[in-house]
């Protein structure tokens, strides 16, 4: 298993008010598996994604990334785990506007320790894989929403992370483009044998997922 969590709870405190968001959530993602995490707004799915993505620490419970317990790691070590093992795709794309398509991917590789010609070659291969070879030197502002999300996917795959976590990757795309992006995403994940967790409202994700996990009120339903 590339991602696994057991009995995760997460409570946010604001002043004296405690808001429990996750109440004993457990799930896993295997290598090469595509898992859709569905749930209504406020159900805790993005919080769970952030905990599995080593961005938030759980209040209690155990999180394992590539069989390493990361539940008690500090912020610096969590950053190391993200750098080594995880890739992210965001709803808002979050590309660097001053960097070209190729540079966006190359910069992610640089952060993960791949530099020089190796980084340039891998960035080009990833951009080719998401079928944006012709747009390599374009800035994000010159790309459509679907193209931006494909760049984000290429960036997430940089340096071959064990798992990719995607937060509503089709929310800002129209139905047709969203479908194409999901197809591409699934094919690449399968081809590269990556675990893929997609948090979504989009029913199309069900069509490409190997498994669907539902969450409601901070509890995994299935």
């Amino acid at each position: 298993m590339v991602l696994q969590c057991q009995d995760i709870t997460k409570t946010f405190h604001e002043g004296k008010v405690a808001t429990p968001v996750l109440r004993g959530a457990s799930m896993h993602v295997d290598q090469g598996e595509v898992v859709a995490l569905e749930g209504p707004s406020g159900s805790g799915k993005t919080t769970l994604l952030q905990i599995l993505g080593c961005i938030l620490s759980p209040t209690s419970g155990r999180v394992e990334i590539e069989d390493q317990d990361v539940s008690q790691l500090n912020a610096r070590n969590l950053a190391m785990v993200r750098k080594r093992s995880l890739g992210f795709v965001f709803q808002q794309f979050n590309l660097f506007p001053a960097l070209t398509v190729l540079e966006n991917v190359e910069y992610a590789l640089n952060l993960k320790g791949v530099v020089g010609k190796a980084a340039k070659a891998e960035a080009k291969a990833l951009v080719d894989a998401v079928e944006l070879s012709e747009r390599g030197n374009y800035l994000p502002r010159d790309l459509s929403g679907g193209q931006k999300q494909r760049v984000a996917i290429a960036r997430a795959m940089a340096a071959k992370p064990a798992a990719i976590l995607a937060d509503e990757p089709t929310a800002n795309l129209d139905s047709q483009v969203g479908g194409q992006v999901l197809e591409l995403f699934r094919n690449l994940a399968r081809k590269e044998n990556r675990g893929l967790l997609i948090v979504t409202h989009d029913p199309k994700v069900r069509g490409i997922a190997d498994r669907v996990v539902n969450i409601k009120d901070g509890v995994i339903q299935s």
Binding site: I55, K83, N94, F96, Y107, L111
Partner: protein, 375 residues
């Protein structure tokens, strides 16, 4: 490596221009202000450095070359008898009133000697023969006097201390810290223009030592024989004259204050621009953290931006300051910017910009990578 810091900085060209302009303004302010101050300070001891005297004898506790106290001119005879002295002459220094053709009047500084050539005064003659000063009611006037006296040419007459004197030559670069124009005339002529004030008196005694003589020994002997005068080497007297303006007046403090304000302006402009830029790119920094970057990676981005802004701003600021130099010379002002000083300002600019960037460091240290999940 992809240079995210540089590319982000250059991406918004307007903001980059504002940052660079802020730095350039601060650099120009510091360079020009200190350069002008250096120019004035250079004037404060210029005549001492240019004069070939090894020792200067002054009245006791004379503050600087521009404010001499008079003492009996016969003292020079006692100096001439000191072993190791090859020559000693009286130098009169005074302020005279100059009536201008416009009806206004101004002051001028006068250096008066019997033999100017013997002491390398004046040091830069534009036209005329300095020996002519002994032949009548003549004077040499520095070309910089035009700023105060209006235009004049060699051969013109000017009324000085109510006496018509003819300008028989002009000098260059003879300027005083007090900004009074400098003139040169014969010793006896100046004494006759201010008889009650200068009659039988001198302002300084210039001393030249015989070859191979020990300066310290001769100086000590003169000092022993003249207990009511002070004896300085050329360097000591130059330093005393210069330090007077820097330490004893508010002018030095004023210059340092301007430098401080220049740095403060630069710091605030750069700090504010970098901080605003950081806030605008906060989500990008969050993304850097989310995909595995650390605070160190983000500090490096901010430091890179600050360094580039400093380098470009410094280059523009230096160019502006250098372009002011010929303009200053047109109005007989000197802008002196030695290379070590320019390098110091360059290093200071980088440090200033890095300090400004540190205002943003605290902000980015607390960036929550989770913010990239918020729409």
């Amino acid at each position: 490596m992809v240079d995210l810091g540089l590319k982000t900085l250059l991406h918004d060209k307007t903001k980059f221009a504002i940052t660079v302009a802020g730095v350039a303004f601060a650099v120009t302010l510091v360079l020009a202000q200190v350069g002008l101050f250096n120019g004035l300070l250079d004037n404060s001891d210029l005549s001492i450095r240019k004069c070939s005297a090894d020792l200067w004898i002054t009245s006791h506790n004379t503050a600087n070359v521009d404010f001499p106290q008079r003492f009996p001119e016969t003292i020079v005879e006692r100096v001439r008898t000191v072993p190791g002295v090859s020559r000693a002459d009286n130098l009169l220094f005074s302020y005279v009133n100059v009536a201008l053709p416009s009806g206004a009047s101004e002051n001028a500084v006068v250096y008066a000697l019997k033999d100017f050539k013997a002491w390398n005064l004046p040091w830069d003659i534009k036209d005329g023969q300095i020996e002519d000063l002994r032949r009548g009611r003549f004077l040499f006037l520095d070309e910089g006097a035009r700023r105060r006296f209006g235009d004049f040419k060699t051969g013109d007459f000017r009324e000085i201390q109510e006496t018509r004197l003819r300008i028989v030559g002009q000098t260059r670069q003879a300027q005083s810290f007090t900004t009074n124009p400098i003139s040169f005339m014969d010793y006896d002529l100046l004494a006759s223009l201010q008889p009650e004030f200068l009659g039988g008196k001198t302002s300084y005694i210039l001393v030249r030592l015989a070859a191979g003589t020990d300066v310290g020994t001769v100086r000590a002997e003169i000092q022993r024989r003249l207990p009511y005068q002070d004896v300085f080497t050329r360097d000591e007297w130059a330093k005393k004259s210069r330090d007077y303006w820097v330490v004893n007046t508010g002018i030095g403090m004023n210059a340092y204050l301007t430098v401080f304000l220049g740095c403060l302006v630069g710091l605030v402009v750069v700090g504010q621009t970098l901080y605003t830029s950081t806030m605008e790119h906060i989500k990008e920094f969050g993304t850097v953290k989310a995909i595995g970057g650390t605070n160190r990676d983000i500090y490096a981005i901010l430091a890179r931006q600050a360094t580039v802004a400093a380098a470009v701003g410094f280059a523009f600021g230096l160019a502006m300051a250098l372009s002011l130099k010929p303009l200053a010379e047109k109005i007989y002002l000197k802008l002196i910017m030695p290379v070590p000083f320019i390098l110091l300002v360059g290093v200071g600019t980088v440090l200033m910009c890095l300090a400004a960037a540190m205002l943003s460091f605290r902000k980015v240290a607390n960036i929550d990578p989770g913010l990239v999940f918020r729409s």
